[in-house]
């Protein structure tokens, strides 16, 4: 066949995105390195003549750095404690919001039924549920998991439903033509087609989960990163408190980088 002799264009090399590579781009890229150095220099200039006994609120970078190193074992165990709230809450939100979002996004009657409720429930700041959740649920741990779940659920659900409802018509028509079953259609066509929006929701949900985790821990936790920051603030131990904030930021940024690596891997086809 003559067509077989056609030369095929060379395939574009598939980009390889490693978590370490993304992390290095986010934290140590040339541009971000400049910003980090400027912030560090500004911080140093603000504090280099500061007498710690007169103004303990603003310790120098070196003091905070040394507090970070000293508190590292405690910070790591706090991060582990926080992960026991964050991971179940976030994963539960992912496990429920994605299937539910796919169903609602593809079924008009379900949209009519649930979207009005979602419009009322989603904008309520999850922090207002904290006192009620603590009163309602038997343990602080369960309350905190619930709050993280609520915070992550809505953005993931909304984005998934949006992605599912905006699946391009040509893919829907192709699926109809092949007469894919309902489950096969959802899993083989709608889910991958919605992945760009789902990952946006996962990112927003993760940020919310971190914010709510630390807020929930400020209320009544006995361990965790929020608790670490709170207790050192209560004792005016500001170098440790700032070390806790920086460490929390680094953990959150690492999780976001991991999610970004996953997104790039799953959406290799997305242009």
């Amino acid at each position: 066949m003559s067509q077989r002799s056609l030369s095929l264009p060379a395939a574009r090399p598939k980009e390889k995105h490693h978590a370490a590579g993304i992390a290095s781009r986010l934290f140590l890229g040339r541009e971000s390195l400049i910003v980090w150095l400027v912030i560090l220099a500004g911080w140093y200039l603000l504090t280099f003549q500061n007498d710690a006994s007169r103004n303990p609120l603003l310790p120098s970078p070196w003091v905070v750095g040394s507090a970070l190193l000293q508190s590292l074992p405690e910070l790591l165990s706090s991060a582990f404690a926080s992960s026991k709230i964050l991971i179940p809450g976030y994963l539960l939100a992912v496990a429920l919001a994605i299937p539910f979002g796919l169903l609602v996004g593809t079924r008009i009657p379900l949209q009519r039924a649930f979207i009005p409720f979602a419009r009322v429930a989603a904008p309520v700041p999850p922090t207002v549920y904290i006192p009620y959740a603590i009163a309602l649920l038997p343990t602080f741990h369960l309350s905190a998991v619930f709050i993280v779940f609520i915070g992550a659920f809505w953005p993931i659900f909304h984005n998934t439903a949006l992605g599912a409802s905006s699946t391009p018509q040509c893919w829907k028509d192709s699926a109809k033509m092949m007469q894919l079953g309902r489950i096969e259609y959802l899993l083989s066509i709608v889910l991958p087609a919605s992945l760009p929006q789902i990952f946006s929701g996962l990112g927003v949900g993760l940020v919310f989960a971190f914010i709510l985790l630390t807020i929930a821990e400020l209320f009544g936790a006995t361990e965790g990163l929020g608790r670490f920051v709170q207790i050192h603030a209560d004792y005016a131990n500001y170098p440790q408190m700032l070390a806790g904030i920086l460490f929390t930021g680094a953990i959150a940024a690492s999780c976001m980088s991991g999610l970004e690596a996953l997104r790039r891997r799953a959406l290799f086809w997305y242009r």
Partner: protein
């Protein structure tokens, strides 16, 4: 009995009439080309035939059965490359093979998909993703996917419209080749607004007019012994005469529309 019977078919989007009382039939094994300007309802008619839209009145029967929805017995190749970008070409075609032959195991399905991609000249691109190949190659894979369903009616909606002239000619020849290789096992409905393409591919040409979409005339195309010598074919006297006849039909429809618009603007002023 005809493979497809269309009787008094009308279709509207809201208040806009798209197709007006269209009656047409498609014979088994033939290639019917729907030719007409933009707005003549060619693609809408194709979607109605595929069962992707429902008519407001009239009816369509395929093999004597009313068309009430999509069916694997009617496969479609769309203009906008509709391959799933997260699947490589082999998996795109295997998905359709899986629907046509659910009893085969994955390996056998892959073998069938490979054979189809081989038939459309994509032997070396099996594991490439749609975004890694050209538009022409994507349409070849889309044709292979449509063939994989082993439907008795193949519907093509301006499938080569977005391609460059060279790829367009290659794919027209490919389509003819596939039809010859597969014998008369399926009928083809091909939508285009290119008269040369219609003459080269069609056994019959249904000329459609716009505002609203309607059938102007149906023409039998002079038989091609071997669909290989395109240049010789287009210079045949009977082909030239048919070209003139179709051009006149399209031109008179444009004049009719201009008159209607003139009258309605005079009435409104």
């Amino acid at each position: 009995m005809s493979q497809v019977d269309i009787q008094n078919l009308s279709f509207s989007y809201g208040d806009t009439l798209i197709l007006d009382k269209l009656t047409l039939s498609i014979e088994a094994g033939e290639c019917l080309v729907l030719l007409g300007p933009s707005g003549s309802g060619k693609s809408t008619l194709l979607r109605l035939l595929a069962g992707l839209e429902a008519a407001n009145s009239g009816h369509i029967a395929h093999k004597g059965q009313p068309v009430t929805g999509a069916s694997r017995d009617r496969s479609v190749v769309f203009q906008d490359y509709s391959l799933f970008p997260w699947l490589n070409l082999l998996e795109n075609v295997r998905l359709a093979v899986n629907k046509a032959h659910p009893s085969l195991n994955r390996r056998q399905q892959k073998d069938k998909a490979r054979a189809l991609l081989d038939e459309v000249g994509l032997t070396d691109a099996l594991h490439q993703y749609p975004f890694e190949v050209s538009g022409g190659m994507q349409q070849r894979a889309a044709i292979a996917r449509a063939l994989a369903l082993e439907a008795s009616l193949l519907l093509l909606d301006e499938p080569f419209g977005a391609l460059d002239p060279v790829n367009r000619i290659r794919l027209q020849d490919l389509l003819n080749q596939v039809r010859q290789q597969q014998g008369k096992v399926f009928s083809t409905v091909f939508v285009t607004h290119d008269l040369d393409e219609a003459l080269w591919l069609g056994d019959r040409i249904a000329v459609m007019g716009a505002s609203p979409g309607h059938l102007i005339s149906v023409h039998s195309v002079p038989k091609k012994k071997e669909r290989t010598d395109r240049d010789h074919y287009r210079h045949l006297v009977e082909v030239q005469a048919l070209r003139l006849q179709i051009d006149e039909a399209l031109a008179s429809d444009v004049l009719r529309r201009l008159k209607v618009e003139e009258v309605s603007s005079n009435v409104s002023t």
